[in-house]
């Protein structure tokens, strides 16, 4: 880690942040998740549309190095054969067929980053072999691939949602705090009206107001807008409180005497000073959006099959019997959990990294 002398306070805060081990680990994990989400087409063995009706609820595929006769055969998977036992339960048995793992081998074609046609995947096996690293779902689709594709939806919904709702929250809070009086009164009552309704019911009500006949991209946008409509009010109230004290600072008064417009003053001299708080708050809010999307998709109001999101993958796991016989369909929950934990760790560390700075420099004076 380069330890150059920091210029502004951002540098100091960043140094303190980097000292927090958990936060750095969390940041790395999130970085890897997002990188994989961006490169989902390459990272996933199969595309979204891929399914194999002969392999419903196929358990995770074992990777072997030695052939059944004991000779070394490199990393490979075996073929599987589905049969039923006398309770009509599916039994998968490995056959003697060997399908070597291919790295960056050719598989199904896709458009890389939506632009260039490509067919390479990081891990793949030749048909008719199937590789299910984390098992398969009811239609024989690879859970691992779908988690990677679903990450695109689940991870970005949080970011976009937070971006929109915090822009609204910052601006509304800034305007209410700066102008005060009647403006403040009206805006704050509005916030309270939004906050009054329990989040999840507001989510459902707003979703009900959006027509059902949307394509997946429209649903995605609708979910982002719905989620951001819920999140802005809490931040607006805190920012407003901070602005009440910030607007009395001399540099704000100086800016007013120099003829800067109110909006310029709010954006340049007031909101940046709430950054320390709002940056941590933004990071801590992302999990709420991820969970919100998951909840909507889980009950079937969010992203629709065949598109994957971590929430709609879990919809299959709502039956206890399926969990009993195919526990691997719970994997998306594991990734939701890790992501939420990482965002919380990073958010906590961000808040801690900024706080001593604000106290130490006597900004509150």
């Amino acid at each position: 880690m380069p330890m150059e002398t920091p210029r502004g306070e951002t540098g100091l805060a960043w140094q303190r942040f980097m000292k927090d081990r958990a936060a750095v680990v969390a940041l790395w994990i999130l970085g890897i998740f997002y990188a994989v989400a961006i490169l989902a087409d390459v990272a996933a063995p199969y595309t979204l549309k891929d399914e194999s009706r002969e392999h419903p609820y196929c358990p995770p595929t074992a990777v072997h190095f030695f052939a059944p006769d004991g000779r070394f055969a490199g990393a490979h998977v075996r073929g599987v054969q589905m049969t039923y036992d006398h309770f009509r339960r599916r039994i998968y048995n490995e056959t003697a067929d060997i399908y070597p793992l291919r790295f960056f081998g050719r598989g199904e074609t896709y458009r890389f980053l939506g632009a260039f046609p490509a067919d390479r995947h990081i891990i793949t096996v030749d048909a008719p072999g199937r590789i299910y690293l984390l098992g398969a779902d009811s239609r024989g689709r690879d859970v691992f691939s779908r988690i990677i594709h679903g990450a695109r939806v689940s991870l970005t919904i949080g970011l976009f949602g937070v971006l929109i709702s915090f822009s609204i929250g910052l601006l509304v809070g800034g305007i209410a705090g700066y102008f005060g009086g009647r403006t403040d009164h009206v805006l704050m009552r509005l916030c309270e009206m939004v906050m009054m309704v329990p989040g999840f019911y507001l989510l459902l009500a707003l979703r009900a107001a959006v027509p059902d006949s949307l394509d997946s991209l429209q649903v995605y946008a609708a979910i982002i807008i719905i989620l951001s409509f819920i999140g802005w009010a809490g931040l607006a109230r805190v920012i407003r409180g901070m602005c009440l004290s910030l607007k009395e600072r001399d540099y704000v008064l100086a800016a007013r005497t120099m003829g800067l417009s109110d909006l310029q003053i709010i954006v340049r001299h007031i909101l940046p000073h709430t950054l320390s708080y709002s940056l941590a708050a933004v990071t801590l809010a992302v999990p709420g959006y991820i969970l919100g999307e998951s909840a909507l998709s889980l009950i079937g109001l969010g992203i629709q099959d065949p598109y994957a999101s971590w929430g709609n993958m879990l919809a299959e796991a709502m039956s206890i019997v399926r969990i009993q016989f195919a526990p691997w369909i719970l994997w998306p929950a594991f990734f939701i959990g890790i992501t939420v934990l990482c965002f919380n760790a990073a958010g906590d560390a961000l808040r801690d990294a900024w706080d001593p700075l604000l106290k130490g420099r006597g900004e509150g004076a």
Partner: protein, 252 residues
Amino acid sequence: MLLQLEGLTKRFPGGVTALDGVSVDLVAGEHLGLVGESGCGKTTLARIVMGLVIPDQGRVLFEGRELVSAKERRGLFCRKARMVFQDPFSSLDPRFTVRAILREALALEPRMRLGEELGRMREVLGLVRLPPDILARYPHEFSGGERQRIAIARALMSQPSLLVLDEVLSSLDVLVQQDILTVLEEIPRRTGVTYLFIAHNLRTVRRLSRRVAVMRRGVIVEYGGCEDLFSSAVHPYTQALFKAAINYEVSA
């Protein structure tokens, strides 16, 4: 007449009367010192002049024109009248570099070419005797005195004709006060700016002002030429102030 204040009255909620019918005139070139104990309404007066506080009654005329709306102020006044605040630690935004701080003072000026803008910055930094290579630095890297110079430099950026100096020395230690005073004495000679100099220390007022107004409890109790007032103060409060100043000089 540069600035005319007519019958300014301001009451704050809670019954505090900060100003009670204050009228003062300020002639270009005749720096006006405003003295009085803390809480007598000096800062409120400065803020009314700058449009930060709206008076209950009275008018502010700048170059003969009354300033009513914020829009009118922005037209000319905001460029031609600038204020320096008491506390240099809170009057500079800690997130801005010196360069950004100075540039912001040009918000209402016609857009300048980069070289022209830099030239202006070097010029005002020269006026306050700061080296021009500090432009990329942040306020927290400077001492109180240096910050106050930056604040003065910022106020000079738009080449104003009126500078309201609100207790600009009181939060600095004595040696630094002397430096800043020297700088402040020089600036009008080189720029032609006129001061409204607010202080509670009579000695500094004497060095900078041609005319002095003495305020007490929101009223101007004595007003006149600087030397006249020092030789023959009439009001008992002014006399008490002088006495205190002399004692201060003896003990210091």
